[in-house]
Structure formats: structure tokens, C-alpha cells
């Protein structure tokens, strides 16, 4: 993981070099002020590109996107690729660029794969806003309910609290190649090493412990294997929406006392949360994320400045902070922690 760290640092410096390189081309590519649109608001088109439009998560997001469109009268569209595959997403983005949309709001499948496309978009004067991509370089703003590190840490905090800060735990992701998942997973481990010395990640700390391959059934099978191989396991986290239902099912069936913490939508997890197997769900509301991406894009198009402490108009984003890392990251305080006590307050 140390190698990985230095590699990403290198990437970061490369990113800077590119930035300065394009500076000379005229205007700062990364200054939102350069993207003020001369067109009337009603002529703008804001396109939201998701990972997979069939997933409940992004259907929820579409509600927020449409809400924004209705509220403002701005033309908004949401598109997903024909396959949940980075290459297909690149195609969608490239095609939208050609159709002359005014803003692109992207939830990348793989941030690395779309860098070049997003750069092209910006060079053409298209506003680029991303979500779930705190390491995306070619974006004006990345909007996050929180940072990946903070989210990973929050997951770990929740798990640690539920399992009493001691014992073995395991981490599941969809694929080792899922960039965001791996960030969350690595952040969890980092937090545990820093704050919970009595906890131990199985398999000598290898991240992740298993892949769910974005399938609830596979998550279940892998969880079972892990539980069999580690009968003394006390905690389990899963960061893909397929992971926790599978893990919880395995735990229930084996009749073990393992705390399950993870990411997902409340309705899908409700039975397991109510039965107590899933102790905590961490998430943010994709409806709000969709809304916020569009809002940020429209503000840039309208020439409005977004600065530290800005109010983006919905709860959780009334006082955003801006962190400059690989990009400018707008961070709200919109993480939701759902437990048995408040699960009935959410319906998505």
C-alpha cells in the first residue's frame, strides 16, 4: 500500500504539470469564472452521467436531478452507459461533449478512465462537476457528501463502536478494481490502525478481504467462506450496495454475532437493520447529490462564485467546505447514519 501511496503522489504532481501546461493555451482551465455562459438559462443543458442507470441508487439520484430541473427550468438529462463498464461510460461522456451540452456532471465508474475526456470537455468550455471522485483531476468541483477518507473513517468508527473496539474484522468491496471502493476500504484500515489498536484486519491486513463482484449472492458466499475460515470474526464491512445484504444473510444463517456495517439504501437493508444484523448503514442521499451537482454546475454557468461556507440550498449543504487536493472538493455535512432507531425516517 505504501507503493500505492507514492504512486498517487506522483500522479498528483503530474496533474499539476498538465495544469500549467494547459494554462499557456489561454485562460485557466480550472478557474470556474472562465465558464460563465452567455446563453440564457433556459438554453442551458446540464447532463448527468451515472455509472448504471438501472441501479436504485441512481434512480434515486434522478429524482434529485429532475427536481432541480423543475425548480429552475434548466434542461437536465441523466444518462447511463449501456454496460456498467468504464469504457462505455467514456463513450457516453464523449458523445455528450459533441452534442454541445453546457455542463457535465459525472459519477465516474473509474475516474482514471475519464480524465482525458473531461479535460477535452473543459477545453471546449463545458463545465465539469464530479461526484464520488475526490481524486479526479480534470474537474472544476468534485461534490461530496464527505471525503473518501472521512467516510472510510466514519465507517470504521461505526464498526468499532458496534464491536466494542476489539476483535477481528473483514472488508468487502465489489472488485479490487473499483477505485472508490478501494479508497473507502483503505481509509477504513488506516483509521483502524490509527485509532483502534485492539482491532485486527484478517489475512494479515490484506485489503480487501473479499470481492462481492457486485452480486448479493456472491457477497453471501464469500462472507460465508470468510466466516468459516475466521470463526472469531467480530465485524464486517461492505462498501458496495450488494455487500451488506449478502454478508448479513450469511451471518444470520450461521447464527453468529458479527457486526455488519456498510453502505447502501435504507429500503434494501431494512429487514436486516430491523433484525439487528446490520448494525449501522452509512450513506448519503443520492437525490441530494444529484441536485447538488446540477446546482454547482448551474452556479458556474451563471458566473456565481462558490466559496467556503457557501449555502447550496439543501440540508447538509448549507455550509459547505472546500478542500483543495487533487481537485477542489465541495464537501457537505450530508452523511447519514442509519440504525434501527431512525431507519423508518427514510424511504428510498
Amino acid at each position: 500500500s505504501q507503493e500505492g501511496g507514492s504512486a498517487s503522489q506522483e500522479t498528483a504532481t503530474d496533474g499539476r504539470e498538465e495544469t500549467t501546461g494547459s494554462d499557456s493555451a489561454g485562460g485557466d482551465l480550472f478557474d470556474p469564472a472562465n465558464y460563465k455562459s452567455s446563453k440564457d438559462k433556459s438554453e442551458w443543458t446540464i447532463a448527468v452521467v451515472t455509472k448504471d442507470n438501472t441501479a436504485n441508487w441512481f434512480k434515486r439520484m434522478e429524482i434529485g436531478v429532475n427536481e432541480f430541473g423543475e425548480e429552475t427550468g434548466i434542461n437536465v438529462i441523466q444518462k447511463g452507459p449501456a454496460n456498467a463498464d468504464a469504457a462505455s461510460q467514456v463513450q457516453v461522456i464523449d458523445d455528450l461533449i459533441n452534442q454541445g451540452v453546457d455542463a457535465l456532471c459525472v459519477v465516474p465508474i473509474d475516474p482514471g478512465a475519464i480524465e482525458a475526456s473531461l479535460k477535452t470537455a473543459m477545453e471546449k468550455g463545458i463545465v465539469v462537476v464530479t461526484h464520488e471522485a475526490s481524486n479526479q483531476k480534470n474537474t472544476l468541483f468534485d461534490t461530496e457528501a464527505f471525503t473518501a477518507d472521512a467516510f472510510g473513517a466514519a465507517l470504521m468508527d461505526a464498526l468499532a463502536k458496534d464491536m466494542g473496539e476489539t476483535g477481528k474484522y473483514a472488508l468487502m468491496v465489489a472488485y479490487t478494481t473499483s477505485t472508490t471502493h478501494m479508497e473507502y476500504a483503505n481509509a477504513q484500515k488506516a483509521r483502524q490502525l490509527e485509532a483502534y489498536p485492539n482491532m485486527e484486519l484478517i489475512n494479515d491486513g490484506a485489503v480487501p478481504s473479499a470481492e462481492s463482484e457486485e452480486s448479493i449472492d456472491t457477497a453471501y458466499e464469500r462472507a460465508k467462506e470468510i466466516l468459516k475460515a475466521n470463526p472469531d470474526l467480530k465485524g464486517f464491512t461492505g462498501v458496495a450496495s450488494t455487500d451488506c445484504p449478502g454478508i448479513a444473510k450469511a451471518v444470520e444463517e450461521l447464527g453468529l454475532d458479527v457486526k455488519v456495517v456498510g453502505v447502501g439504501t435504507p429500503n434494501e437493508f431494512k429487514p436486516y437493520v430491523e433484525s439487528g444484523t446490520i448494525s449501522t448503514i452509512k450513506l448519503w442521499d443520492p437525490k441530494d447529490s444529484g441536485y447538488i451537482m446540477c446546482k454547482v454546475a448551474s452556479m458556474i454557468l451563471g458566473g456565481e462564485k462558490i466559496s467556503e461556507g457557501a449555502d447550496l440550498g439543501i440540508e447538509g449543504y448549507n455550509n459547505v467546505s472546500i478542500v483543495e487536493g487533487d481537485n477542489k472538493c465541495i464537501i457537505g455535512e450530508a452523511d447519514l447514519t442509519i440504525t434501527k432507531d431512525n431507519i423508518n425516517d427514510y424511504d428510498f
Partner: protein, 329 residues
């Protein structure tokens, strides 16, 4: 003797379909479709899977199939990307880039030879051999990249991904060149003819003194090599490489090859046919992206429909022609 026709009917029909698609797109979405930028994007996108489809097509002509092209492309992209990253700092000049390209091509060829070895010497059905090797190549790619994206490719290399020559993206020029070279190899050389023969009757090939194993290995090697080129093109275009990039391309390449007139049992097919099928698919995809309210998943529906419709049209036309012949004689 009747003079042999120069262009085969299937290509003519594909061209008609292509023209029809272009016309529909031009009429219904002129503002979006008839645009230099749109064409540039389309040709850039299709170059990668187009290259792989050519490789798959050659293997299918030889009587097999190659399911591993996408993962060879990713593996070689990752290797080249990591080499460029690591050597960029210590070197002045672009020598290291050429070295990385060379190594990537070599790795692609070796992967292809490995596939060919499984299919020829070990007699594993190609579908299974390349199913196994695709897991293997993807696995190796995950192991060396730790599953994460290899990015931070030196600009000296990625510039090439965005270069235009006479307004044509380099990637497409590469695709065209490979198409031309392969068309030539397949239709005009000994080796090319032997691929068809091997795909027609593997037993008779032995009696005709054609080295079956050697031909098969070379066919898969070419597929591996082209996949490596696709990997390098993709590395330049998206500035990164990853073990699972483009996993949906596998089925797509087979569909393209089949639409292009390659027979899945071997012995038939042409490179230009595949190339035209690539263009048809790309226009279809880009066209659908012009309708915000139409889900991209309709592409699969249309694509499956076009494939079967073309098969049936070919069938009916051939039958009609035979009936006409019968009446004449």
C-alpha cells in the same frame, strides 16, 4: 468461365445498412450528427474495440474464437503505463516510451502465442482456452497493478492520443492501417489463405502439408498483437489503464465479427466486412446518445435485432438468387 466477383455481397449489404444508418442519423439529428467533432469522437472510440474485433475475427476464421482480447489489451496497457511512469523520471528523451511500446507489443504477442499454444498443441476448444486465459491475463493485470488504475502517463505519450493528422485522430489512422495490412495479409498471402483452409478442414490441412499448429499460433499471436495495439491506443486516449477496462467489449467484438460476415465455425469472413460492422455499431451507439430520453440499453436491443435481421436478409437474398439461377438455366 464466369468472372469472379470482386466485392462480396455481404460487404455490399453492410455498406447499404451503413448508409441507411448514416442517412437516418443525418436526417433526424443533423445538428448533432453532422459535425466534425462527432466524427472525430466516433472514430476515436471505435478504434479500440474495432482493433480487437479484427483479432477476434481472424481467430474465428481459423475456426476458433478469442475471448481474451480485452484483457490482453488491458494487461499490455498496464505494463506499458507502469514502465512509462517508472522510467519517465530517470530519462531524457523519449527512448523509454518506445521501449515501453515495444515491451507491450511483445507481451501482447506472447499472450496470443500462449492462447495459440493452448488451442493447437493442447487441443483445448478455443472458447474454453481463451476463457481460461482471459481470467489469467486479467488476474496477472490485477496482481501487477494491485487492481487500481495506472495513470500519470507521461504527456509525451498521451499527446499522441489526441493528435490529429489532417483532422483525423491518430487512433483511427492506426485502426485503418491495421485494417489495410490485415486485409492484405488475410486475402493476399499464403498465411492468410492458410487461415481459411485451417478453419475449413483441420484434418485435410495435415494431409496438405500445412502446419496446423504454426498457423493457429500465428493467428492467435496476431490477435494478441492487435489487442496490444488497442491497449496502447486506449492508454493514450484515456491516459490510464486498468485490469477491467472495457469488459463489455468482449461480446461486442464477437457480435461485430459475426455481423461483418465471419462464420463462427470458421473458413469464412473478411477483414473489410468486420471494419464496416465496427463503424455501424459505433454510429448506432453515438446516435442513441443523442437522445437524452432513450436509455443506452436500447443499443443492445437494436444491435441484436440488426444482427439477426442481416442474417435473415442474407439468407433470403441468397435463396432468391438461387431461384433466379434455376429459372435461367
Amino acid at each position: 468461365m464466369i468472372k469472379a466477383k470482386k466485392i462480396d455481397d455481404n460487404i455490399v449489404r453492410l455498406l447499404i445498412i451503413l448508409t441507411a444508418f448514416i442517412m437516418i442519423a443525418c436526417v433526424t439529428r443533423p445538428a448533432n450528427f453532422i459535425q466534425l467533432g462527432n466524427f472525430q469522437t466516433m472514430v476515436k472510440q471505435m478504434s479500440e474495440y474495432g482493433l480487437m474485433a479484427l483479432g477476434v475475427g481472424i481467430c474465428m476464421i481459423s475456426g476458433g474464437i478469442d475471448l481474451s482480447t480485452v484483457y490482453i489489451a488491458n494487461l499490455t496497457g498496464i505494463i506499458a503505463g507502469m514502465m512509462m511512469q517508472n522510467m519517465a523520471a530517470g530519462s531524457n528523451g523519449n527512448g523509454y516510451i518506445y521501449l515501453a511500446i515495444l515491451v507491450a507489443l511483445l507481451v501482447g504477442a506472447i499472450c496470443g502465442i500462449f492462447n495459440g499454444f493452448l488451442v493447437s498443441y493442447l487441443r483445448i476448444p478455443a472458447m474454453l482456452a481463451t476463457l481460461g486465459s482471459y481470467q489469467l491475463f486479467m488476474g496477472i493485470a490485477i496482481v501487477i497493478s494491485h487492481g487500481s488504475t495506472v495513470s500519470g502517463i507521461p504527456e509525451a505519450y498521451t499527446r499522441f492520443g489526441t493528435t490529429l493528422i489532417a483532422q483525423i485522430p491518430v487512433a483511427f489512422i492506426i485502426f485503418l492501417l491495421v485494417t489495410i495490412v490485415l486485409s492484405f495479409i488475410i486475402s493476399k498471402t499464403k498465411f492468410g489463405q492458410r487461415i481459411y483452409l485451417v478453419g475449413t478442414n483441420a484434418q485435410a490441412v495435415k494431409f496438405a502439408g500445412i502446419k496446423y499448429n504454426a498457423i493457429i499460433i500465428r493467428a492467435y499471436m496476431i490477435s494478441g498483437l492487435i489487442s496490444a495495439i488497442a491497449g496502447l491506443v486506449s492508454l493514450a486516449r484515456i491516459n490510464s489503464a486498468k485490469a477491467d477496462f472495457g469488459s463489455s467489449y468482449t461480446m461486442q467484438t464477437i457480435l461485430i465479427a459475426v455481423l461483418g460476415g465471419v462464420h463462427p465455425d470458421g473458413g469464412f469472413g473478411s477483414i473489410p466486412g468486420i471494419a464496416i460492422a465496427v463503424v455501424i455499431l459505433q454510429i448506432l451507439s453515438s446516435y442513441l446518445n443523442m437522445f437524452p430520453n432513450i436509455s443506452n440499453y436500447y443499443r443492445n436491443l437494436i444491435w441484436g435485432f440488426v444482427l439477426i435481421a442481416v442474417l435473415i436478409i442474407n439468407f433470403v437474398i441468397n435463396k432468391r438468387k438461387a431461384a433466379k439461377l434455376r429459372k435461367m438455366s
